[in-house]
């Protein structure tokens, strides 16, 4: 039997279909049958998934630990909020806003895209020199960037309303927009991974020296992927802003970073299937735990209020998952439908980035 061209096509894009269909089903079932709270949770899941996928594009393919993406998510959120709020609302929410920002008013989609574009542009502007660094230096520089972004968001009163809550954003991200965007980003992340650029980047992760020896400009491929991933994170931030409708700069700091990192790491950083599975598992664990926590507090089962139990549980899960399966649940594999002879196409599971040459 010869495989038809259609079968080949189907099998090479099967990952996207296998991952998208359950997400769509989840959205449909939730929208039809679930209550308001559950719809909110599932919408949040799709929005987080976008940011997790953004992170995967860089971290999974380059092997460099990225702390900063939640910062770009914050940039996307603030920029899109500034773009979509009406001038009247902006006057109330950010009393000291710059006059030229006050007049800015555009539709939802334009606002979200501008948010993503600004995040992309900032990433493009600042990140090139940082792409030389890997290992500890790479992680520290990325962490430093997150703190710089947070510090600017907290203190730039005339744009972000400072450390105070920014409120009054219209709730425009519904479950269908969220799932649609998540699937679009999923396709983008998959195509990126399978593109020649993605392949070169993955080669640099597997072996720094061999990759440079065959002529890959590692700094440059890392740079491109970083820009793409920051743009995706910014896009997710824009959707988040129009989902949550009010937030502070600290919504885009260490707690959210932990959340997103946990999703990616538990699922597996190396593939988009890992990002999807991780987001689902962590959301399920977190919401289950939160329900228990709320139940305890509501019915006063314990003599004191329980705060932080969910995070303690998640952190424990993350540590255990790193001990048992550091490469994540998916372990670098993708869900794939193969028409004939099951030939597993797995990659060497390796989390860390290859080190650059060191001067002895």
């Amino acid at each position: 039997m010869t495989t038809s061209r259609f079968t080949t096509w189907l099998s090479s894009y099967s990952t996207i279909i296998i991952l998208s269909v359950p997400l769509l089903v989840l959205a449909a079932v939730t929208d039809l049958f679930a209550n308001y709270l559950l719809v909110r949770i599932v919408t949040a899941l799709f929005v987080s998934l976008i940011v997790v996928l953004g992170m995967q594009v860089f971290m999974g393919n380059s092997g460099i630990l990225a702390w900063v993406h939640v910062g770009f998510m914050g940039i996307g959120a603030y920029v899109s909020a500034l773009c979509s709020m009406t001038p009247a609302m902006k006057k109330i929410a950010i009393p000291q806003v710059y006059p030229f920002l006050l007049q800015l008013h555009m539709p939802f989609w334009a606002a979200v895209l501008v948010g993503a574009a600004v995040a992309t542009a900032i990433a493009a502007f600042v990140s090139y020199p940082l792409m030389r660094l890997s290992d500890a230096a790479g992680a520290i520089s990325s962490f430093a960037l997150l703190i710089i972004i947070n510090s600017v968001l907290v203190h730039w009163d005339r744009v972000t309303n400072g450390p105070r809550t920014l409120f009054g954003i219209d709730e425009l991200t519904n479950i269908w927009i969220a799932v649609g965007c998540a699937i679009l980003v999923l396709i983008l992340a998959y195509l990126f991974k399978e593109s020649s650029l993605g392949l070169r980047l993955r080669a640099s992760r597997a072996d720094y020296y061999a990759a440079s020896a065959v002529g890959i400009n590692i700094t440059l491929v890392r740079y491109y992927s970083f820009i793409v991933s920051a743009g995706i994170a910014g896009f997710g931030g824009g959707l988040y802003a129009h989902y949550i409708t009010s937030f502070t700069p600290n919504a885009f700091y260490l707690v959210e970073t932990f959340n997103v990192l946990a999703m990616l790491v538990v699922g597996g950083t190396l593939g988009i299937s890992g990002a999807v599975v991780g987001s689902l598992v962590v959301t399920l664990a977190r919401e289950g735990m939160r329900a228990i926590e709320n139940g305890i507090n509501l019915y006063h089962l314990l003599p004191f209020d329980v705060i932080g139990l969910t995070e303690v549980f998640l952190a424990t899960v993350l540590i255990i998952s790193l001990v048992i399966r550091p490469e994540g649940i998916m372990g670098g594999r993708e869900f794939r439908w193969l028409p004939k002879a099951p030939k597993s196409k797995s990659e060497p599971a390796e989390l860390g980035a290859a080190s650059p040459p060191k001067k002895e």
Binding site: L130, A136, G308, L322, L351, G352, E360
Partner: protein, 297 residues
């Protein structure tokens, strides 16, 4: 501007920062892992100060010693429970583990104690000041300088003259070679964590002595300072870390004086800009070491 008060303040902060940096770099030197849970060791020390200080009537010096001991033990335990099983895996896994441990400890404090700030009882020496050459100098600063210098001297002696110190230095230089020469890896790493916790405990007394209260998130400040100081001074050398701490104190004080008022809010952003620039142009820090070794699991 450069009065005696300014000088004592700068030296006092500098010596505290030097200690902070040293605690972080002891672990970094061997595992090449930035311990994100380092700040939580200081938080833990603070809660020991709170719990022992308010619930028992023992003299304050023993309360402080209990805090140091507590931080040492918790640091050792995190190594035993979380870091050791992940150690052989990738650096990324280690870093994420340390981040998870940090979140875990922070939220455990939230869960077990309270999200609200808890007041610490401090002896009067922390709030008195003396007149010296016409300047008012807080006793707290003098105490910080004295204890920091004592600890620094103690550590120098430990690193120079004891077998443990020599093994630690050797492991930081070349871990694989050290193991081949018969130094047990687990023991060295555990001692490094315990020592790091001990230093964090000492720092916690003085860090918390500044505000006399402790919150679950108090660890972020000292962690960030230790971070910046080690990058400035050099992540591969103990001397570099200490020097970096003093330089951080100096730069931070200078930025406070030199930066225009509008930009003063962004002081932290500027410090991290310096970090990025140093990582890019002088990744080995200001104090160079003979050779740099990649991480060995």
């Amino acid at each position: 501007m450069f009065t005696l008060e300014f000088l004592v303040n700068a030296v006092s902060s500098g010596s505290l920062y030097a200690l902070l940096a040293l605690g972080l770099v002891i672990v970094y030197g061997i595992l090449k892992m930035v311990n994100f849970a380092y700040g939580e060791l200081i938080m833990f020390g603070g809660y020991v100060l709170f719990l022992v200080g308010t619930n028992t009537g023992i003299p304050w010096i023993f309360v402080a010693l209990a805090a140091v001991l507590g931080a040492t033990i918790i640091s050792y335990l995190t190594e035993l429970v979380a870091f050791r099983p992940v150690r052989a895996k990738s650096l990324t896994a280690l870093l994420i583990t340390s981040f998870a441990v940090s979140t875990l400890l922070q939220n455990a404090a939230l869960l077990i104690i309270s999200p609200r700030a808890k007041a610490i009882i401090l002896p009067p020496i922390f709030s008195t000041s003396i007149m010296l050459f016409g300047a008012t100098i807080a006793m707290r600063n003098i105490l910080t300088i004295t204890i920091s210098i004592l600890v620094l001297v103690g550590l120098t002696l430990l690193f120079r003259y004891t077998i443990l110190g020599i093994a630690l230095r050797a492991a930081a230089d070349n871990f694989r070679m050290t193991r081949m020469l018969g130094v047990p890896a687990d023991l060295v790493i555990s001692s490094a964590f315990a020592l790091s916790g001990l230093i964090a405990g000492v720092c916690s007394v003085f860090w918390i002595g500044r505000t006399a209260s402790v919150t679950p998130t108090i660890g972020l400040g000292p962690l960030i300072i230790a971070f910046i100081a080690t990058v400035i001074g050099g992540m591969r050398s103990l001397v570099g870390a200490a020097v970096g701490g003093f330089i951080y104190g100096l730069i931070f004080s200078l930025i406070g004086v030199l930066l225009p008022q509008v930009l003063l809010d962004y002081r932290e952003a500027f410090m991290f800009l310096i970090v990025l620039l140093i990582l890019l142009f002088r990744p080995e820090g200001l104090v160079r070491v003979k050779y740099a070794q990649e991480r060995v699991g």
